[in-house]
């Protein structure tokens, strides 16, 4: 049988390789500490995938590595081993695996982990990512968009709103690097984002608008915290945006053909 290559695992691998510029730059600047966090996240996430494979015959996915990378990069610091393991487990299991694995989840498991850790342990400081890491998000997004595993529309939607906000005089210097990294790592996930053309534009717009709003109005929030919260809300809104886009498509179609 002849087969194309866009099945779930290839998409996960392409996504993973698109994120490589980001991951490698982060490892370069983070050193051993970063590598250890990544290994921990990979092991915990991999363990849960293994458990679900054995208990529920649910095939494991390379997407677990993407979530682990995002958690390792973005999770609050000084949490201690137990809390970090707890957070990763919660995100992997409740965010992804109970729904049936990557592709059936509603929210990116890393977003769930980060929101859980961020809101559960508000005293823990969010990491400050080096600026070059944020620059590396640009090639990552470019590779993802060219390969078609990240939505160019979503990225463009976010970009347009950011540009608009900057031209209108919003001071986003502090939040932009974090927002860019979160956009590529969490928001542009093809599963947790909108799936229609218009929905993707809106998804990017909503995320960027939330980031702008949080950075202007949310006093005392770390840039990363604002970005992760925006990502969580944006991916929760994604199904509604899709629904709206499809409803609009149906109305236009009805107008053209006189019926559905």
């Amino acid at each position: 049988m002849m087969r194309g290559l866009w099945d779930r695992e290839t998409v996960a691998l392409i996504l993973l390789s698109a994120l490589m510029p980001l991951a490698l730059t982060w490892l370069w600047f983070g050193g051993t500490q970063a590598a250890l966090r990544l290994v921990l996240a990979l092991v915990v996430s991999g363990l849960w995938h293994m458990i679900f494979m054995l208990a529920r015959a649910q095939p494991p996915s390379f997407a677990g590595a993407i979530a682990a990378l995002a958690v390792a990069m973005l999770a609050p610091e000084e949490l201690g081993l137990i809390r970090l393991i707890l957070g990763i487990s919660f995100g992997t299991v409740m965010g992804e695996l109970v729904f049936g694995g990557w592709g059936r989840n509603v929210v990116n498991p890393a977003t769930v982990t980060l929101a859980f850790l961020g809101f559960g342990f508000p005293a823990a400081p969010w990491p400050d990512l080096e600026l070059p890491v944020a620059w590396a998000a640009i090639p990552a997004a470019a590779i993802g968009a060219v390969a078609g595993v990240m939505s160019a529309r979503l990225l463009a939607g976010a970009g347009v709103v950011t540009l608009l906000a900057v031209t209108l005089g919003a001071d986003l210097d502090r939040v932009l690097p974090a927002a860019g990294i979160v956009l590529v790592l969490l928001v542009a996930d093809p599963v947790a984002s909108a799936s229609t053309a218009l929905g993707r534009w809106l998804n990017g717009v909503v995320y960027a608008a939330l980031v702008v709003m949080f950075s202007l109005e949310w006093q005392g929030a770390a840039p990363l915290q604002a970005a992760v919260s925006a990502a969580l809300l944006a991916s929760l809104a994604a199904p509604v945006l899709d629904e709206a886009a499809i409803a609009l498509w149906l109305v236009r179609r009805k107008g053209r053909h006189g019926r559905i």
């Binding site: 049988m1 002849m2 087969r3 194309g4 290559l5 866009w6 099945d7 779930r8 695992e9 290839t10 998409v11 996960a12 494979m53 015959a57 649910q58 095939p59 494991p60 049936g100 694995g101 990557w102 592709g103 059936r104 078609g148 595993v149 939505s151 160019a152 093809p190 599963v191 799936s195 229609t196 053309a197 899709d242 886009a245 499809i246 498509w249 149906l250 179609r253 053909h257 019926r259 559905i260």
Partner: protein, 390 residues
């Protein structure tokens, strides 16, 4: 050789084995519509008739007789009545070259569709160029299209690729319209064009026919003789060279590929590499033979199997590739979700009634065939059909 379109045809009046038949002479009649005949694609002797229980046609094999006759149908000229023309299409075996949406079966004999799509473009990989097939047959095509226009109250849409118009735009009192479509697959699939231009509904059937068959109708109306051949491409990775042949409908695919196949086991498929099915004979609507090396099916390593096999199907990730595989005609992810969850109502809203298996063949290929969208679609269409028939 004849084999049934769509699989399940109950037949009567089967020509007995050993009968000598002229080209275009009726071989069997359909039990449900006794006026509809399948005709001999060439002058020959009936060699074998295989019927499954319930007089369901499996296959009829003819041996060619050199110097055989051609059956002359009563040619009513192009000014005949609609009833007359329908009768001619039924008796000359042209009816089975029509395809009806929704559900993709043979249209009922007296149905008036909402539109007829004549496909003069075929974007499937390695498909023969319909423009080549229609070279020098413009008059027949125009006559055939005008005739088709009488079968419907709606338009007849001739889908062709960019280039000189195959017929004058607006013949038959402006009922025949030319639609220019893009050169990339799946832009030339009738289902996606129908979905886009004239979506089919339960009570809004839309037919599609290959433009070459429309030209055959034109020739039949003019001369009373059914044209003998069609343009067929024989290609694939197991062929030394790709061939473009003119042969009779229902030809033996082994015969067509003979002498050009690379050594080693191979598979013959009627249809394109994407939507073809393994077969021995070409079907009434097939214009493509795909010859592929038979892949060795080695069992994967037990560990790989444990990692990849599961009780539930792997989900489809909405990527740009998936969107392009349906030509952006409808929200692909939403449609796949509706198909996989059996949500008939949503799928019908999204336009599933205009689609057939071939329209999702590319999507199936692109996503690695994991959930088998074509199978899901067929299951859904069958379910909708029984629900609405009741």
């Amino acid at each position: 050789m004849l084999c049934p379109p769509g699989g399940d045809l109950r037949v009567d009046d089967v020509a007995s084995e050993g009968t000598l038949l002229a080209q275009g002479a009726p071989v069997v009649r359909l039990r449900e519509h006794p006026g509809t005949a399948l005709v001999a694609p060439m002058a020959g002797r009936v060699a074998r008739v295989v019927l499954r229980p319930g007089r369901r046609l499996a296959e009829i094999v003819l041996f060619r007789e050199a110097g055989g006759d051609r059956h002359r149908h009563e040619a009513p000229g192009s000014a005949s009545s609609e009833a007359h023309m329908r009768r001619l299409m039924h008796s000359a075996g042209l009816w089975i070259r029509l395809q009806r949406r929704p559900f993709g079966r043979l249209p009922p004999p007296d149905e008036r569709p909402a539109a007829i799509f004549a496909m003069a473009a075929d974007t499937r990989p390695m498909a023969p160029d319909p423009r080549l097939a229609l070279q020098g047959r413009e008059e027949d095509l125009a006559r055939g299209l005008s005739a088709l226009a009488r079968l419907t109250d709606g338009p007849v849409l001739l889908c062709q690729q960019a280039g000189p118009a195959l017929v004058e735009n607006g013949i038959a009192d402006g009922r025949v319209t030319i639609v220019t479509i893009g050169p990339r697959h799946p832009q030339g699939l009738p289902g996606l064009r129908i979905h886009d231009l004239r979506p089919a509904g339960i009570d809004m059937p839309v037919w599609d026919i290959h433009a070459e068959d429309a030209a055959d109708l034109g020739a039949l109306l003019a001369t009373g003789l059914l044209p003998e051949t069609r343009l067929v491409s024989v290609a694939g990775t197991a062929m030394d060279e790709s061939l473009l042949v003119r042969c009779q409908p229902g030809a033996d695919m082994r015969g067509l590929s003979h002498g050009h196949v690379r050594p080693g086991p191979h598979v013959l498929m009627a249809g394109s590499p994407l939507d073809g099915r393994e077969a021995h004979w070409l079907g009434p609507r097939d214009r493509q033979v795909t010859v592929r090396p038979r892949a060795r099916t080695a069992r994967p390593h037990w560990f790989i199997q444990a990692l990849t096999r599961s009780s539930t199907q792997a989900p489809v990730i909405p990527t740009a590739a998936l969107e392009q595989s349906v030509g952006g005609a409808f929200p692909a992810a939403a449609m796949i979700r509706a198909l996989a969850s059996g949500d008939d109502e949503t799928a019908m809203k999204l336009g599933v009634l205009s689609l057939l298996e071939e329209d999702l063949a590319l999507a199936d290929y692109v996503i690695g065939g994991a959930p088998g969208l074509s199978t899901l679609l067929r299951r859904m269409l069958d379910r909708i059909e029984t629900e609405y028939a009741a």
